[in-house]
């Protein structure tokens, strides 16, 4: 078991008039090597949940276990630093974290903080840059001269370069063009195939269907459903009560079945669907 939440609650601004309960008694287990989607409304506690994984937020009560690390209410920031390297967290719109005057310096910022020497870090930076499909000519450029999509790639490379076992992504494709979003998701899938545990917060159900194997549904600070992607999308009426859409393909199959077809709703790819309908 890679990540485990036990009775985790988190309250913001506790004991002030602005007190806000963001997580309520969350129990969750995420398997090593899985690709898990976290879905739910804005404000349902997704971001709070994922920030527990690398110890940026400590639980108000309960325990989070990440590999050998135990995160609870009494942790000191110092103890949690190695966890930050092991569980890489990419925030929403990560391009805002860039600050160095060259792409290379910005990418090696993370590894250097974790004590990697400059030469090794630079070598790793090249590899990370290649992973996000950018060539080495960008190394010397200023990150502020790049386009929004390129900045996003650099920022993600800045996390990948730390070689985390667990990759946590908060809406990594928000605001990217469809082609860029697809490339990004394929990168994460490739990393997942190499054995990394990937956790992604997304509002795009098509991404969930195409790339993820597990899904966690959150609502008002609680986890209301977990399971494989097929299990989650099995019950469209229930999802509708949470205003969560179905992926286009699953929706299409459900519409067909309503009109007399009998097609397996867990079909994920176009070829299988065409065959199931009776095409070639």
């Amino acid at each position: 078991m890679s990540i485990k939440f036990e009775q985790v609650s988190h309250t913001y601004s506790k004991n002030t008039p602005f007190q806000y309960i963001a997580l309520k008694d969350v129990d969750l287990a995420i398997e090593k090597g899985s690709f898990t989607a976290i879905i739910g409304h804005t404000g349902s506690g997704k971001s709070t949940l994922i920030q527990h994984i690398n110890g940026l937020i400590l639980p108000t009560s309960g325990i989070v276990t990440v590999n050998d690390f135990v995160v609870d209410a009494n942790n000191l920031p110092k103890v949690l630093r190695p966890l930050r390297q092991m569980a890489g967290l990419v925030f929403q719109f990560p391009e805002y974290q860039l600050f160095e005057d060259s792409v290379e310096k910005d990418i090696i910022f993370g590894p250097k903080n974790f004590g990697v020497d400059e030469e090794t870090a630079k070598q790793k930076a090249k590899e990370a840059l290649a992973m996000v499909k950018m060539d080495e000519s960008y190394l010397e450029k200023s990150p502020f001269d790049l386009s929004g999509g390129q900045k996003r790639r650099i920022a993600i490379a800045g996390i990948l370069v730390m070689e985390p076992d667990i990759l946590v992504l908060d809406e990594p494709t928000a605001g990217l063009d469809p082609q860029g979003a697809k490339e990004m998701m394929e990168l994460f899938k490739a990393l997942n195939d190499q054995g990394k545990t990937v956790i992604i917060v997304t509002h795009d159900m098509n991404q969930v269907l195409n790339y993820c194997d597990h899904a966690v549904v959150m609502n008002k600070g609680e986890i209301i459903k977990t399971g494989t992607v097929e299990e989650i999308f099995k019950d469209p009426e229930y999802l509708e009560t949470l205003s969560i859409d179905l992926p286009i393909m699953t929706h299409f199959i459900h519409e067909l079945n309503k009109n007399g077809f009998h097609i397996d709703p867990s079909i994920k790819d176009l070829d299988t669907l065409i065959k199931a309908i009776g095409g070639k």
Binding site: P17, N54, F91, Y96, L98, N113
Partner: protein, 265 residues
């Protein structure tokens, strides 16, 4: 960062909340002036009681006011130590080597501390009971007479309201960037001076970039909606001066004038 109490509006419904912002600003001005007049402990006692009354009426918990004093503790203790030893008035109470504590010094120090506490408490009550937008609306009204001598009343109040509006946004942004950099191994709390400088740079640069970006976006949005500072505009919210405002202002002013007279005599 989320625990900052200074200057936050508390959405309660109380007598103080309902008062006109103009009244509150003018009263604060009078109170601040009278705090600086030396009317002895009796004078400060009266102002202190008055502040307590206002806090009770505003339904703000006293712990909240105390919390807002927290950031001042360092400055206060620094001032206290400095004043106790530096002021050489009155009789010597006791001395340790070259350092001597005088009775006058103790009294002066107490005055300074009381003043600071009163000032912070008063301003906290104002910002906690008045919506930032009402506050600027009040300021604009109060600045208006100055327009005749060419003072840009509307522009100034627009700038103040924009600045106030973006304080929480920038705090949020700061927290977000700090977290993002902490994810890359930055330690904002510990480390050598060099590490700390680096940590601060990794926060300041993105913060400035996004602040400038925001400013530009806001300017564009305002211009595309035809903003013109010289334009004659009507107000969605019109301030209403009520009997309770007149009475409250009168009470405050009478008390302040009393204190000032007391100190002069």
């Amino acid at each position: 960062m989320g625990n900052m109490t200074l200057g936050k509006y508390l959405p309660f419904d109380s007598f103080i909340h309902r008062l006109d912002p103009r009244m509150k600003i003018v009263s604060l001005l009078f109170l601040l002036i009278s705090v600086f007049f030396d009317a002895g402990f009796i004078g400060y006692g009266i102002i202190g009681l008055f502040v307590c009354l206002v806090v009770v009426l505003s339904k703000i918990k006293i712990t909240y006011i105390l919390k807002s004093l927290k950031p001042m503790i360092f400055m206060m203790s620094f001032l206290m130590i400095l004043n106790v030893f530096m002021i050489q008035k009155g009789t010597v109470l006791f001395s340790i080597g070259p350092l001597a504590i005088y009775s006058g010094g103790l009294i002066q120090t107490a005055y300074i501390l009381i003043r600071l506490v009163l000032i912070v408490a008063l301003t906290t009550v104002l910002t906690a009971t008045t919506k930032p937008l009402d506050l600027t609306l009040g300021l604009e009204h109060l600045f208006n007479p100055l327009r005749k001598i060419g003072f840009p009343a509307h522009e100034v109040s627009m700038m103040i309201s924009i600045a106030l509006r973006f304080i929480p946004t920038l705090l949020e942004e700061t927290e977000r960037i700090m977290k993002a950099q902490a994810s890359r191994g930055v330690d904002f709390k510990e480390g050598s001076l060099k590490d700390k400088v680096k940590a601060i740079v990794s926060l300041i640069v993105p913060l400035f970039i996004s602040a400038f970006q925001r400013a530009e976006d806001l300017a564009n949005a305002m211009e595309s909606r035809g903003y013109n500072p010289d334009g004659k505009r009507t107000k969605y919210k019109v301030l209403k001066w009520r009997m309770s405002d007149t009475l409250s202002l009168l009470t405050t002013v009478v008390m302040c004038v009393g204190i000032i007279v007391m100190s002069v005599i």
